[in-house]
Amino acid sequence: MKRVSLFRWIKNVSIAKKLYFTVGIMAILIAIELGVLIFSVNTLSSVRAYVTGEGLWSKAQKEAVYQLMKYGRTHDEADYEKFREFMKVSEGDHKTLVELGKENPDLEAAKQGFIEGRNHPDDVEGMINLFRRFHFVSYISKAIIAWSKADSLVRKFDGISKKLHTEINKTNPSQDSVNHILAEIDPINTNLTFFEDEFSYTLGEGSRWLEYVILRLLFGVALTVECTGLLLAITVSRGIQRGLKEILLSAQAVAKRDFSRKAKVFSKDEIGILANNFNMMSDELERSIHEIENVQQRFKNLLESAPDAIVILNDSGVIQIVNAQTENMFGYSRSEILGKEIDLLITCITKKKNGNGSFHHVLDIMQNNEPEELEWMGIRKDEKEFPVEISFRPIRMEEGLLISAAIRNITEKKLLEKQIMEININLEKKVTLRTNELERKNKELEQFAYVASHDLQEPLRTTTGFAELIRQKYLGKIDADADKYISYIIQSSDRMKTLIKDLLDYSRIGRETQAKKINCNELLCEVLADLDGLIKESHAEINATELPTILGYPTEIKQLFQNLISNAIKFRQKDIAPRIKIAAEKNEQHWLFSFSDNGIGIEEKYLSRIFVIFQRLHTRTEYEGSGIGLANCKKIAELHNGRIWAESEPGKGSTFYCSIHEFEHA
């Protein structure tokens, strides 16, 4: 599991870190190898020092034996001193052996012992370390045993030499005793030689073993270093290669426009990020290409589905692109048109005389030098000409200016235009005819209303006369019912009279043909004088601003004023004296007169109905009237090209507005 996670870690870590990691591992391994090397050299050097030490020890031992034998013969004390001197070598080494054999050895004392044993001071440390580190190794332990045995044998010389020294220094030394003592030396010496040889031999063998082990160890470490390096290099490079190969394959696929092949992502390092980015880029590229293709397809569809023949020219008038409609309209196949000049298809008839090619006009249009509409003709393959309408548009592209020409066959349109024109002329004739007829009929109707209402007065007058006669003669003489009948007859006849008179007035409006200047201030005075009785009776207060002098029909305008003012007084609130304000305001083309009162007001829903003839809002018992006054006012306003309307708040009062256009045909 740990190995897996390490591999995963290596896989996902950045390439730089991978390199650092590899080099680091190599450095550590090489450092280990170096350590091993140094240790091995030191150890071998120590072995060498022991061998040297053994030589010194053996030499000193042999010299000591020789000097002791010599002393036995010569009895010279100098020889005995020499013996003691040579024995110091083995004594020094003995001290070290004893010290190192202890549980907690005094290393300084051990060192001192070796130095006394004539070993080189530089070797001493290594020798002690070797003893301590490797005493459990068979070779070393065997050598130490040999050394210990030899040492204990050597110590025997001390006893022998002391015995000898005592014997010789006796007053009568016995040579026999001396020889007997000397005879003890030889077997020990022989034994010592055996142990000395064993020591050297064992160490030699040990050093060879060590050499063998170190060589293998070094070889092993070196192999590990190389293998690890190789493994890491392979792992890292393979990871990089695999990732790069994926991206390369995807890139090749994209180059062949296969966007479905995505680069597999193996790691989260730079290669992995690169692969991800590459995939995103390829997606984006696919989308962009798709969009561009869509746009192209749309353009193509648009071009082909256009009802017009669409021709795209380059800046020298050569046809670059055409749609199917162009083939239909001109009877050429696409290949016959492409690459040809535009003059093949169209010709400008407006400026044919100039002799320039059609494209010259096209360029003029492009540069806005052609303010007038040009007329174009299309030329079919069979040389038939037909009228066309063309709209040119510049298309600025990277490679230069292109011009699109939308060509429409207007043969039918022209035909229709002609037909419509004919129809229009006919229609105009008919309208004139009808208008005249209508005007005549209208006149007749007006005449009829006038005559009828006029003639109606005749029998009415008779009825009224007789009714009046009956009233004078028989009122109160028959019975109460008869009185009532008579009064109803007279009442109804009076109403009839008013109605006929108003109807007559209404039909008379506009009969006056001459517009005159009217001073509205004077006109108002006249009206107020006419209404004097009513004003006094109702205590009405009438104020007017300065009124203009206008051009209009005096009788009608007077009637308008009179109707509006008398209405304002008539529809007053109970117990409130009517207050009427009259004003005029000049607008752009007309005078706007306003008549405001404080009367009963009109509900909003009736504001338009009040101007319709015979429409009344109250019963006759409430307010007298025929329902014709405001209809008159409307007709008068319209006669003056104006209009009339009212604004009102029930219970507070109303304002009537009337616009009067000034006449200019005085």
């Binding site: 009532k484 109803y488 009442q491 109804s492 009736y606 015979f614 429409q615 009344r616 809002l617 109250h618 019963t619 006759r620 018992t621 329902g627």
Partner: protein, 143 residues
Amino acid sequence: MKKKLNCILLIDDDEPTNFLYKMIVSEADCTSETLIAQSASEALNYLEKFCEKNSLEDFTHFPDLIFLDINMPCMNGWEFLEKYKELKKGFKKETIVVMLSTSLNPDDVTRAEGMPEVAGFRHKPLSIPMLNEILKEFFPADY
């Protein structure tokens, strides 16, 4: 055997006309009560009393027959009928509306025929034979 109607309602803005009609109705002796409304809104106000929501249980003054004028100030006969249409839904008793007008306009007759609320259309003036004919047509069980 003649049976009298409960009540006849006359709707007309003209006072002499109403006077004349009342006389004719009383001469015909066909109703216990004759009511006169001088405007459409006055008539509506009166009829509202019999509407369900007002739950007036006494129907002795409920008109069995209504004569309606067309041309009246403020609210005319047609406008009255619009309101009456709604009001009628609340009535517990049937009533007959006969339009009575001076109008000779055939459009008015057609319009009246198209309205289920209007039982008949007659031209003014009302007379005793016309009244009898109306009673025979609309109240055949009683006459």
